[in-house]
């Protein structure tokens, strides 16, 4: 593990990206920041720009219009950048799998480091998922 990665894991800045979701996962991501769940105690903070972010929280079923933007944003992110798929839609497109506008799942577009299932996943699940990602990067599986 490089020094940058080691330092980065102490305070992950996340960028939240909705690629055609129903809003529920996005609300639950925001919910993690509010007093009951308060992810800032783990050093996790919502970043305003992708250029400041270490983790990309992706929700939604990657429709045609936002899939191109997603790939563009992933290229703009400073490396290492971990992608976390939140919710059933970004895992497998869920209920929208037969839709004409959702041709590819998320992991066919960008490499994904962690998957958090649920529709929507509870805030506890999202926090647990991000913490598991930290442990995975550290090499303790």
């Amino acid at each position: 593990m490089t020094l940058t990665t080691k330092a980065l894991l102490k305070s992950l800045w996340v960028f939240h990206l909705s690629t055609g979701s129903c809003n529920n996962c996005d609300i639950e991501v925001l919910d993690c920041l509010t007093p009951r769940h308060d992810v800032e105690r783990f050093g996790i903070k919502l970043a305003g720009s992708i250029r400041h972010a270490d983790v990309l929280l992706v929700t939604g079923s990657c429709n045609r219009k936002s899939a191109a933007l997603l790939q563009k944003l992933y290229k703009e992110a400073p490396q290492p950048c971990f992608v976390v798929a939140i919710g059933e839609c970004s895992l497998s497109r869920g209920i929208f799998i037969h839709s004409y506008n959702c041709p590819q799942p998320l992991d066919a577009l960008v490499p994904v480091s962690a998957y958090i299932p649920g529709c929507p996943p509870k805030p506890e699940a999202i926090i647990s998922g991000v913490l598991k990602l930290i442990r995975k990067v550290k090499g303790k599986r």
Binding site: L17, S21, C22, L30, S61, S66, L69, L73, N101
Partner: protein, 406 residues
């Protein structure tokens, strides 16, 4: 004077959904606005036509996470309109409970985000902390925090456990003092007064012309609420007030939503204490051929669903019209001439939800849009004419419209 264009989005830190706005500004004053959506389009109407009537409710629920009750409610009402079934009283009460719980958490979510947009994060944290309590209530009642999956054509899927009711009532009672405190704090705050009073005024005439819905229209003095205007659910069986204010500015929209929360708590308490006994499902089997409409007062306004059935187990056509579709154009009227710093809160005041509003445009490979607004209007007029001819309806001159007998 030179005009500048400021792009907002599609992925902006203030918005939790992707949408793209271009603000044309002259100095600090907003001159024009244009919106581009489509980042959330999932083709739900088509998906709904691929599934059978029962499965469709789950797709409809995922049109929007915050209105995850309003859309199924309007949809099942459309199906019940086709089949002509009566919903049992207990099911009507459970539906009302779920719908009002959703309204409560949606309004709190909005209040928090409005505070966040103003840079007043204390309101954001307080409102969302309180919202958790309501989500707990909903989790006890339905088993999930957001997508409740309680609705089915002809009734509800799950019953409310009588043992849960005292716990839920106690929780709701505990919410009231905190909510009242939050209301007073927001209502009497001089900073919020300065930021919201007289900002983004939507006059009564504009509200009627734009066909604004829900709290957006009620804040402008237009008393329009599906819960009062039509008889459905358990709303007509209890006493509650429709909140209407006159000024139409951002502050009034805040006040309408805050007072509505207290009315909603009244409705919830009445429903839990007067929950009638009996079946929760009318045992609706199959939908006959025909067409039906269903409406419901979502937290943002009237949700409208149209379903056509040909007697098979799938809808032939399913049309969804969400409240933001009507409310978003009012932004064009309210934002013009305002300061750039106020543009965000004026937009937030209509409580926009783009997931519900998503539409699709067809373009040829060169990028030219094929069906523009004028063509769609012409198509619609041609279709109306066809229907008129088939039914033998004579076209009335415009001045005669006022004199048609009801």
């Amino acid at each position: 004077m030179k005009k500048t264009i400021i792009p907002i989005g599609p992925y902006h830190p203030l918005q939790e959904e992707p949408e793209y706005f271009t603000l044309t500004v002259d100095g600090e004053t907003v001159v024009d606005i244009d919106a581009e959506i489509g980042y959330n389009h999932r083709g739900i109407e088509k998906l709904s036509e691929l599934k059978n009537f029962d499965q469709s409710t789950f797709v409809i629920e995922r049109i929007c996470g915050i209105c995850s009750t309003s859309h199924p409610y309007a949809y099942v009402r459309a199906l019940e309109d086709i089949a002509g079934v009566e919903v049992p009283p207990r099911a009507r009460y459970i539906r009302t409970i779920i719908a009002e719980g959703e309204r409560l958490h949606s309004h709190l979510l909005w209040l928090g985000l409005a505070g966040h947009f103003l840079g007043y994060n204390t309101v954001y944290m307080w409102a969302w902390k309180l919202r958790e309590e309501i989500l707990d209530v909903m989790e006890i009642v339905s088993g999930n925090r957001n997508n409740y999956a309680m609705f089915r054509p002809g009734g509800v899927r799950r019953d409310i456990n009588p043992d849960d009711i005292p716990i839920v009532l106690k929780k709701i009672k505990k919410i009231v003092p905190t909510l009242t405190m939050l209301h007073k704090a927001v209502r009497d705050d001089p900073v919020l007064h300065a930021r919201t009073k007289g900002i983004g005024v939507l006059t009564k005439e504009e509200s009627i012309n734009f066909s604004a819905l829900g709290p957006t229209s009620r804040a402008s003095g237009v008393a329009r609420d599906v819960r009062k205007d039509t008889v459905y659910g358990a709303y007509h069986e209890m006493d509650w007030k429709m909140i209407v204010t006159e000024n139409g500015d951002v502050f009034d929209k805040v006040v309408v939503r805050m007072l509505e929360m207290l009315e909603t708590i009244k409705i919830l308490q009445y429903c839990f204490t007067h929950l009638p006994a009996g079946p929760i499902d009318s045992g609706l089997k199959g939908i006959p051929a025909g067409e039906g409409i269903g409406t419901h007062e979502a937290p943002r306004g009237e949700t409208f669903h149209y379903v056509r059935s040909d007697g098979t187990n799938r809808p032939v056509r399913h049309k969804v019209r969400a409240p933001t579709f009507m409310n978003l154009p009012t932004y064009k009227a309210t934002v013009k001439g305002s300061q750039l710093a106020d543009a965000v809160i004026i937009l937030a005041a209509i409580d926009p939800c783009y997931c519900c509003t998503e539409r699709m445009a067809i373009r040829d490979p060169g990028g030219k849009r094929l069906f523009d607004g004028r063509e769609l209007v012409a198509l619609s007029q041609r279709k109306s004419k066809l229907v008129q001819e088939q039914l033998g309806i004579r076209e009335l001159p415009l001045d005669a419209l006022g004199q048609v007998a009801p």
